[in-house]
Symmetry: C2
Subunit: 226 residues, 2 copies
DNA sequence: ATTATCTATAGATCTATAGATAATGC
DNA sequence: ATTATCTATAGATCTATAGATAATGC
C-alpha cells in the first residue's frame, strides 16, 4: 500500500494539517478531485483558483502540488473518469452479437444518461469548456471519439439503421449522440428530476430518432408512464 | 444619430486610436461584442482578459470601459442576443393557430438549430457556463424559460402530444429542448457540416421524439437524403 | 467645449517554488 | 531518514480608475 493513496488507520506520517477534519475515507488526491469537480462545475474552471480547490480538500494551497501537477491535471482526470466507463460498456455491448442492436443501443444510451446525470456534480458540463480543446486533453478526445464510433456501429447494426444509407446513418448517430449529451443541459436546468425514468425515456427517444421500434424490448417499459 | 454608435463617414471626434485599422462598418460596441464572442467561445469566459477583448476590437484595454461596464456586460449581451430571436419566433408561431402544431414545432426547431449553429461562433456553448447561473443573468434565464414553455405548448398542441398525459408531455418537451441544445455539442465536434440540412434533420428528429408523424409536411423533405 | 482615446498605475489577485517544520519509521 | 505538510513569497498577471492628450465642433 502506498502511503500517499491510503487513508491510513491511525497516525499519519508527516506534519499534521493546519485544520483537522474528520476522515472522509478518501485519499488526498481523491479529495482534491472531488473538490475540483464541485468547484469547476459550480463556479467555472478558470474562475476556480488552486487555493479554493486545496482549501476545500482540507489542505493549504501549496500542499496540492504534492499530489497533482496543477489545475489542468485535475480537469483531465475528471474528464476521463466521466467518459472511460461509457466506452468500456460500449465495447462490451459491441462485442455481444447475440442481442439485438436495438437493445444494446438502448442500454448504452440509458447508461450514459445515468452516468451524466447521476453523479452529485454535472461533470458533463465540463465537455464544453473551450480550454478542453487544448492538446493537453487529447486523450479525453480520443476516448470520446471512440465512444461516438461505437454509437455509430450500433446504429448501423439496427434494423432501421441498416436501411438508411451511410450519410443518413451518420447524421442520425450524431443526433443521438447530441441528444445524450444534450441531457447535460436539461439536467442543468432541472436537476431535481428522478434519474432512472429520465434515462430510460431518453433511451426511448434515441431509438425513435434512429427510427427503430422497440416496443416492450429490453429492461423497463418502452414508454414509462404511458 | 449618436456619435458613439455610428461608424462615421470621414473624420471622427476624439483622440485617434493607437493602431489604426480599416473601418469594419461596426460600431465600437459591436466590435467589442464580436471580439468577446470569439474569445469567450474559443478560450473561455474567465480565461479571456479585458485586454484581449479590447485589443482584438482594435482599442486599448482601458478604452473598453467607455463602451461597456465590464466583461459581464459583454456576456449578458451575447446571451440575450442568442435567445431573444428564438423567443420572438416562438411567440409568433404560438399565435398562429391556423397551422398544424406539428409544422410550427418543426419550424421552431429548425430555426433554433440554425441560429445555434449558423453563426461564426458557437455562442450556445456559453449557456453552460457556471457563471451564467448568477443573478446578474436572470434576464437571460427568464427568456430561456419562456422559450421552453413555448416548446411545451407546441408539443401539447400536437396530435401525439395531446394523447400523452401531462407528465409524459413535459418529459418529451424536455427531451426535445435537450436535443436542440445538444446540437451545440454536436456542432462543437463537427463544425464543418452544412447547417441547412442538419437543422432540418434535427427538426425531424424532434418530431420523432414527440411521436408526431409529419411525412412530407411543411418546408423541406421530412427526411432529406432518404 | 466635447469627445474618444491614450498612458500609467494602484491594488488585488493567483501560481508555483523555496525552504522550514512536525509527524512517523527504523 | 522520510514524509506530508506548512509558511512565506517572487513574479506575473488582471481590473478598473485617474488624469493626460489629440482630434472635431462651434
Amino acid at each position: 500500500m502506498s502511503s500517499t493513496s491510503d487513508t491510513g488507520g491511525g497516525r499519519r506520517v508527516g506534519r499534521p494539517r493546519a485544520t483537522q477534519r474528520p476522515d472522509s475515507g478518501l485519499s488526498a488526491r481523491e479529495e482534491l478531485l472531488a473538490a475540483a469537480a464541485e468547484l469547476f462545475t459550480t463556479r467555472g474552471y478558470a474562475a476556480t483558483t488552486t487555493r479554493a480547490v486545496a482549501e476545500r480538500a482540507g489542505m493549504r494551497q501549496a500542499t496540492m502540488y504534492h499530489y497533482v501537477a496543477g489545475k489542468e491535471d485535475l480537469l483531465a482526470a475528471l474528464l476521463e473518469s466521466t467518459v472511460a466507463p461509457s466506452l468500456a460498456l460500449a465495447e462490451k455491448l459491441l462485442a455481444d452479437g447475440g442481442r439485438p442492436a436495438e437493445d444494446r443501443l438502448w442500454e448504452l444510451c440509458r447508461a450514459d444518461v445515468t452516468l451524466l446525470c447521476g453523479g452529485p456534480y454535472n461533470l458533463g458540463a465540463l465537455y464544453v469548456l473551450p480550454e478542453v480543446r487544448a492538446e493537453r486533453f487529447a486523450d479525453f478526445h480520443r476516448v470520446r471519439t471512440a465512444l461516438r464510433s461505437a454509437y455509430g456501429e450500433l446504429v448501423a447494426a439496427t434494423g432501421a439503421g441498416a436501411a438508411l444509407g451511410a450519410d443518413e446513418a451518420r447524421l442520425r448517430t450524431d443526433l443521438v449522440f447530441g441528444l445524450i449529451e444534450g441531457v447535460i443541459l436539461v439536467h442543468l436546468s432541472g436537476p431535481e428530476r428522478a434519474v432512472g425514468p429520465f434515462a430510460a425515456a431518453t433511451a426511448d427517444a434515441a431509438l425513435r430518432i434512429v427510427g427503430a421500434d422497440r416496443e416492450g424490448r429490453g429492461p423497463g417499459a418502452a414508454v414509462p408512464g404511458a
